[in-house]
């Protein structure tokens, strides 16, 4: 395949940055998108040019590290996949592909296509956990019976890998899907109910501090989410927040 890549290049966080065009040839349809970028970078390094910086780690769709906004969509045109699971067969020979970093005020660009998603970490630190006594008398979680439906929904919410595709694709850069998944995975379990009020208030407060936008329920996040996190979680978080507002 012969392609034209239009890639966002930015030297550092202070640099203004811009789109740079790269022609590339010899791309196999069965290559992953990241492997295609590896080929590009190999060529750039051989020519003595700076390779394109991009995030990646497991390359198995598990870690949520790879980002990229490809041809106007988070993780590209395929559904239910991360960028490392996107294959070049999704494109046609001769295509022009725009590759940009995830855009949000709360996801500042560090270099080229690499963005700082530590705002998600700070939201997690604000309440995305349960406090457990680990001094030797920890109670086995399995001793507490949990309704199957709740357990399944909690597990589905916990499947969120925090990749940020929801923020990147949302026209408002809202992080509601991510935060609601993290709230829901505990809100549905008895172990999580003890700190439920503090959790939702603290996490939403931190989300607002980070500068994410407001959810307008377009549903784009749910469609682009590689793990299929449901909008149902956002409704649940709204209920949790309203209830916590009355209690807190």
């Amino acid at each position: 395949m012969k392609l034209t890549l239009k890639i966002w290049r930015q030297k550092n966080a202070q640099d203004k940055g811009g789109i740079v065009e790269y022609p590339i040839d010899g791309i196999e349809p069965d290559m992953s998108f990241l492997e295609m970028l590896d080929v590009l970078n190999e060529g750039l390094i051989n020519k003595g040019e700076e390779p394109v910086a991009f995030d990646h780690d497991c390359r198995e769709g598990i870690c949520g590290m790879c980002s990229l906004f490809i041809n106007g969509e988070a993780h590209g045109p395929d559904r239910g996949v991360t960028t490392c699971q996107l294959h070049m067969r999704m494109f046609k020979d001769g295509d022009t592909i725009f590759i940009e970093p995830f855009r949000a005020k709360a996801f500042p660009v560090i270099k080229d296509l690499v963005v700082d998603r530590s705002s998600f970490d700070r939201i997690q630190h604000a309440g995305g956990f349960i406090s457990v006594n680990t001094s030797g008398n920890t109670i086995d979680a399995n001793t507490i019976p949990i309704n199957k439906d709740d357990a399944d929904k909690s597990f589905d919410a916990a499947a969120c890998i925090g990749c940020g595709a929801c923020v990147a694709t949302c026209k408002n850069s809202s992080a509601m899907l991510f935060v609601s998944a993290k709230v829901s995975q505990y809100a549905l379990l008895p172990q999580g109910k003890v700190e439920a009020v503090d959790r939702v208030l603290n996490m939403v407060h931190q989300m607002d501090l980070e500068g994410f936008g407001n959810c307008t329920n377009t549903g784009a996040c749910e469609i682009e989410c590689p793990k299929g996190i449901s909008l149902e979680n956002i409704a649940r978080m709204n209920r949790e927040y309203l209830a916590a507002s009355l209690k807190g």
């Binding site: 969509e73 408002n172 509601m176 208030l201 409704a235 709204n238």
Partner: protein, 221 residues
């Protein structure tokens, strides 16, 4: 250390936006029902309009509440849109919004602005003359004038066209707004799918009824 709920929290703002939207949806249902009477019976329309125009509960309680609801919904819409724009200071070079969200959900501000402009025209046509009639000129009540005033406004094809275009945009606004307001207040249960369908029907039937009313009076008189 727990944060206390703050009035400017993003979730509370969207809940407030949703509640004002649900209130305006209820008002629209009432408005279209009353207006549609004009297609069926001149006398009943005059009677109903006179009741609405001179009932103290409606005039001095419901009307101010409605005005507050409308202003709140628009102001909050602008505030949220400004905040959302600020959340992405650098736009994408290529953004394929249509790939994962409907036009109506992505352009609520556009349909909202058209509705705001329409309200200006609507107030100019009906509300200001009504206030002038009752409170400035102090004219004695006349229970037979409403149908004639309504029909007169739809003589102009331009005005009728503007009304129809606005109603279509209202339909787009409701297409997303109805279900979105339920989601915002936290409703997502076994009734949600049914209510979403009701919302889609509402978004078609109500604007269509308004269009029929406008066209009926334009062509019938």
């Amino acid at each position: 250390m727990a944060q206390s709920a703050q009035l400017n929290a993003s979730i509370l703002k969207k809940v407030a936006m949703a509640l004002s939207g649900i209130f305006l949806i209820t008002f629209l249902a009432l408005h279209v029902t009353l207006n549609f009477i004009s297609v069926l019976s001149e006398d009943v329309f005059n009677e109903a309009s006179h009741f609405m125009g001179y009932n103290p509960l409606i005039q001095y309680v419901m009307q101010p509440v409605l005005a507050f609801g409308v202003i709140f919904h628009f102001v909050m819409g602008f505030v949220l849109t400004a905040q959302n724009s600020a959340a992405r200071p650098i736009a994408y070079a290529k953004y394929n919004g249509a790939a994962n969200a409907s036009w109506s959900s992505r352009n609520m501000i556009i349909s909202g602005l058209v509705i705001l402009a329409f309200l200006g025209l609507h107030f100019y046509d009906f509300w200001f003359p009504e206030v002038s009639y009752k409170y400035i000129a102090g004219t004695a009540p006349d229970a037979t004038r409403y149908y004639g005033e309504l029909v007169h406004k739809f003589h102009s094809p331009v005005r009728t066209g503007l009304y129809c275009v606005s109603f279509i945009l209202l339909g787009f606004h409701l297409w997303h707004g109805f279900a979105s307001s339920l989601q915002s207040v936290g409703m997502h249960n076994k009734y949600s799918r049914f209510l979403s369908k009701v919302g889609l029907w509402f978004a078609v039937v109500v604007p269509a009824a308004f269009v029929i009313i406008a066209l009926f009076h334009h062509f019938n008189n």
